[in-house]
């Protein structure tokens, strides 16, 4: 089982990347040149500047996002505020929107003709401010997803004990909540850091002259078709995931299961002060997200921003090659396949890593593989797929230029966050469950179907929706891999923007948002029934073991 996952990653991540990285020690003709390209790269004038810029942007964005998302997740899971469902859906919107949408909205709000330009006190939105703002905006849902998973499972008994001991709420927060969520906070920080560090979509459109490593790759590969130098820079970008891997290894040793077999599920208690504070905080964040998305929608409905603001629907007539409605349907197909296959592959994978007894070294390798996709920019992954799967001597080159390769590429590209979500949920279940099942001679797969799967169902639904919306919006990887009958809506939005139809690009991007919101709502309604049955144990005070026994 573990071996089949290692094979999966070798085939769809390591070998393709290896093919690309080989180019870093070759010249344009393919001859071996040793470290010459690396030496050339070290002489690049903008190298260190780019490196420190990337580092600065990633660290600043990470700190801001983790603080914002933790508070938001706390409000959703540990307080009694109303409208939680509404806040959840709105907070997901940045994930539903292609990055071009955030860029359009930011320029409309804060650009030189923007209404709120004065808020920048003479600074330009084209630079670090814009990059950080947009990065925080688009990574917020990623952080929220992991953090609310790690905050939603907790043992009520700890808080009861704290209450009996007359511990203040703040102290309980600092000594129970934070340590309990520590694993989630650490993984979130690394996820966000790496996402921002490797993203080129945001700096490309709003970065102005602010150089970063990811845009350097873009310039080398797309501007100059210099794959050798692109390979060198992508290797530099892989470093954070290695660091993340070792810290993760370290922190997992310290993780204790929060949900033991005797746990009682935590139910938040009403507190007027905390609840109203958190309610206004959530409302504030929601308002910012709605303002961003609202501006993009406004831009799609006016004749010519900012000079002719009269209403029109003409931007929704996409009359150009491959940019119309067919690409929209292709995107929906891609999103469905990615959600269905991806969820199965990723959740089973996280179960294998977390719960099955296996060779520690192999497990370590697999864990490293699961963290790698995050630090590979989509652009690099897409190119690597061309080199690897288009090769004539590759036995599976029949998947090149098909829907399959798009689905696999998207699953691999978004593997890490989904995997970490799965692992975070599984970690909170005591290993005792497995020991009990072993001693009762219940086969593991039965245990998986009867206990693990039902307990983790909310997380599994989260993973599937995460994959769905990312497949709707992803651009950087698939832009090299789609072909004439698999054009995608997100790519169309980029093309429309490139040819000057900003409004049409915003219109296409908003269509993507609406479909994702619609799917999200259907998903919520559909899963509510399932969740009510499988998550009943969360609602009453039966201990988990009793629940298992009953089943």
């Amino acid at each position: 089982m573990l071996a089949s996952y290692i094979l999966f990653f070798l085939l769809f991540l390591v070998f393709p990347l290896g093919t690309l990285i080989m180019k870093s020690v070759q010249d344009q003709k393919g001859n071996f040149v040793g470290l010459k390209n690396y030496l050339l790269y070290l002489q690049e004038p903008a190298l260190f500047q780019s490196f420190f810029n990337s580092l600065f942007i990633a660290i600043a964005s990470t700190i801001i996002v983790v603080l914002l998302a933790f508070s938001f997740a706390y409000a959703l899971t540990r307080t009694c505020i109303p409208f939680k469902g509404f806040f959840r859906v709105i907070a997901l919107i940045p994930l539903l929107s292609p990055s071009i949408l955030a860029a359009i909205a930011l320029v409309y709000w804060f650009g030189n003709k923007g209404i709120l330009k004065a808020l920048l006190f003479g600074n330009s939105i084209y630079g670090p401010i814009g990059i950080i703002f947009a990065s925080v905006y688009w990574t917020f849902p990623h952080a929220l997803m992991i953090l609310s998973t790690s905050l939603s499972l907790s043992d009520s008994r700890l808080y009861e004990a704290a209450e009996v001991l007359k511990t203040s709420r703040l102290r309980a927060f600092l000594t129970i909540t934070i340590p309990g969520a520590r694993y989630g906070i650490i993984s979130t920080s690394f996820v966000i850091f790496t996402l921002v560090f490797t993203d080129f979509g945001v700096p490309k459109v709003i970065g102005g002259n602010y150089n970063m490593l990811a845009t350097d790759i873009y310039k080398e590969v797309v501007g100059m078709q210099n794959f050798q130098m692109g390979a060198v820079i992508s290797l530099v970008l892989l470093l954070p995931s290695l660091i993340a891997f070792f810290i993760d290894q370290y922190s997992r040793k310290k993780q204790i299961s929060l949900l033991t077999s005797r746990s009682v599920v935590f139910k938040p208690k009403k507190s007027f002060a905390v609840d109203s504070l958190m309610l206004s905080y959530c409302a504030f964040i929601t308002l910012i997200i709605l303002l961003m998305i609202g501006m993009a929608q406004f831009g799609a409905l006016v004749k010519y921003w900012p000079y002719d603001l009269s209403f029109t629907l003409k931007h929704y007539q996409f009359e150009v090659a491959g940019l119309g409605w067919e690409s929209f349907y292709n995107s929906i197909r891609l999103a469905f396949y990615t959600a269905i296959f991806g969820t199965v592959i990723i959740f089973v994978g996280s179960y294998i890593v977390e719960k099955l007894r296996s060779d520690e070294r192999l497990r370590g390798i697999l864990q490293l593989f699961t963290l790698m996709p995050m630090s590979v920019p989509g652009l690099v992954l897409g190119l690597a797929y061309i080199f690897y799967f288009n090769a004539e001597d590759n036995p599976i080159n029949f998947i090149y230029a098909t829907m399959t390769i798009l689905v696999i590429n998207t699953i691999v590209h978004f593997y890490t966050v989904s995997h970490l979500t799965g692992v975070t949920a599984l970690k909170q279940m005591d290993k005792e469950f497995e020991s009990v099942s072993l001693s009762l001679k219940i086969p593991l797969y039965k245990m998986f179907w009867k206990v693990t799967l039902p307990v983790c169902l909310p997380t599994i639904f989260d993973i599937s929706i995460y994959l769905f919306v990312n497949a709707m919006t992803t651009v950087s990887g698939v832009i090299f891999l789609y072909t004439y009958n698999t054009t995608l809506a997100s790519v169309s939005a980029i093309h429309l923007d490139e040819q000057g139809d900003v409004a049409a690009a915003a219109a296409m991007a908003m269509l993507i948002v609406y479909v994702s919101v619609l799917v999200r709502i259907i998903h919520t309604v559909f899963t509510k029934g399932v969740l009510r049955r499988t998550q009943a144990w969360r609602q009453n005070s039966l201990t988990v073991v009793e629940e298992v026994r009953k089943a």
């Binding site: 004038p45 002259n209 797309v222 150009v320 179960y351 288009n390 029949f398 797969y445 039965k446 004439y484």
Partner: protein, 349 residues
């Protein structure tokens, strides 16, 4: 029933099923069709290809379009096992590198003698032919310029005037073909030393370097920056969409770049690929003439009634561009450009 089923299935068989279903989505491309790669404007591309199919109803054309850089990177990466049968319009400076890599099939299309010889591949054997081109220009936002009290420039040289500081956006030659077209043409117009001196001064005025050649004109169109260094086709489109833009063709002359077509070596549909190549110099040329202002056979131009003088103005200002020189020296020139300007990242005050 579902429960009964699922609870007996081991996890490994779920995985096996998942993969076999996933792989079954692969369908092969049919022979006898023409897979065309393109980097020309999406709206024009659709029109040309539809017309070609009307003339040749027995050929089914499948099109993949990307911006120049992305398409070039994709094609270079596919080099060892080319997917496309035909390359319909690609910037010449990029296509020349592909020719050097042996990516094009040798074919001399019919009608090569009737077109402007600047559009012809002079090195034997012939592998490509130019169809139409694009050039540099300045997009000028009337409203913003008036608000800012900026005088309207007539030349490239005037853009170096400190009065324009922070009001200009320009494509980055490292990531945009139009950016490189501007830089390489300035070197040809002004001579090496003067051109770099000019760019030193211009750099102080530039607010942002963009990664796309169209973006500066869009930014000018929405008033982000009053002046965008861009290209005429985009300017016309933005003007027609309602932007308060004037297009300025600088007096010193404008650099230009042609779009070429070629048959990909390794195509499995050579006869149809040849028909498409011939078509571009036949009926295709009059269609290009309806929508382009710089084409290989100027007699086929249909002047745009909204912009009657535009065609002659552009034609008069085109410099005698040396594409071979521009393609061969791209790495060196862009390298120097990056050395001078790309390292400085402080936002301009």
């Amino acid at each position: 029933m579902f429960k009964l089923l699922t609870r007996k299935i081991p996890i490994s068989s779920i995985l096996a099923t998942t993969f076999s279903v996933l792989l079954s989505f692969s369908t092969s491309v049919f022979a006898g069709e023409l897979l065309v790669y393109s980097s020309t404007d999406a709206d024009n591309l659709k029109y040309y290809m539809e017309e070609f199919q009307k003339d040749n109803p027995d050929i089914k054309v499948n099109v993949v379009r990307e911006s120049t850089g992305t398409m070039a990177a994709k094609m270079m990466a596919e080099k060892d096992n080319p997917q496309a049968d035909f390359l319909f319009e690609m910037a010449a400076t990029v296509a020349l590198n592909m020719e050097a890599e042996g990516m094009f099939y040798e074919y001399t299309p019919k009608g090569m003698d009737k077109i402007d010889q600047r559009y012809v591949d002079k090195s034997a054997p012939v592998t490509w032919v130019g169809n139409y081109g694009w050039a540099g220009c300045i997009c000028w936002n009337r409203i913003e310029a008036e608000n800012l009290g900026l005088p309207k420039p007539k030349t490239w040289a005037e853009l170096a005037n400190p009065i324009y500081k922070g009001h200009i956006s320009m494509p980055n030659p490292a990531s945009s073909g139009t950016g490189y077209l501007d830089v390489s043409s300035w070197i040809q117009i002004m001579g090496k030393e003067k051109a770099w001196k000019y760019m030193d001064a211009l750099h102080k005025n530039v607010a942002v370097y963009t990664h796309s050649g169209s973006k500066p004109c869009k930014q000018a169109g929405s008033g982000e920056f009053a002046i965008g260094i861009s290209w005429p086709g985009r300017a016309i489109k933005i003007i027609k969409a309602g932007a308060p833009i004037d297009m300025i063709i600088p007096e010193e002359g404008i650099g230009w770049e042609m779009q070429v077509v070629a048959i990909m070596s390794g195509t499995d549909n050579l006869p149809d690929a040849k028909r498409l190549m011939d078509w571009t110099l036949g009926r295709g040329m009059s269609l290009f003439g309806e929508r382009q202002s710089i084409i290989a056979d100027p007699s086929k131009i249909t002047k745009d009634p909204d912009l009657p003088d535009f065609y002659d103005e552009v034609q008069a200002k085109l410099i005698n561009n040396n594409f071979v020189w521009a393609a061969a020296n791209k790495t060196r020139i862009v390298g120097e450009w990056k050395q001078r300007y790309d390292g400085k990242t402080e936002p301009k005050k």
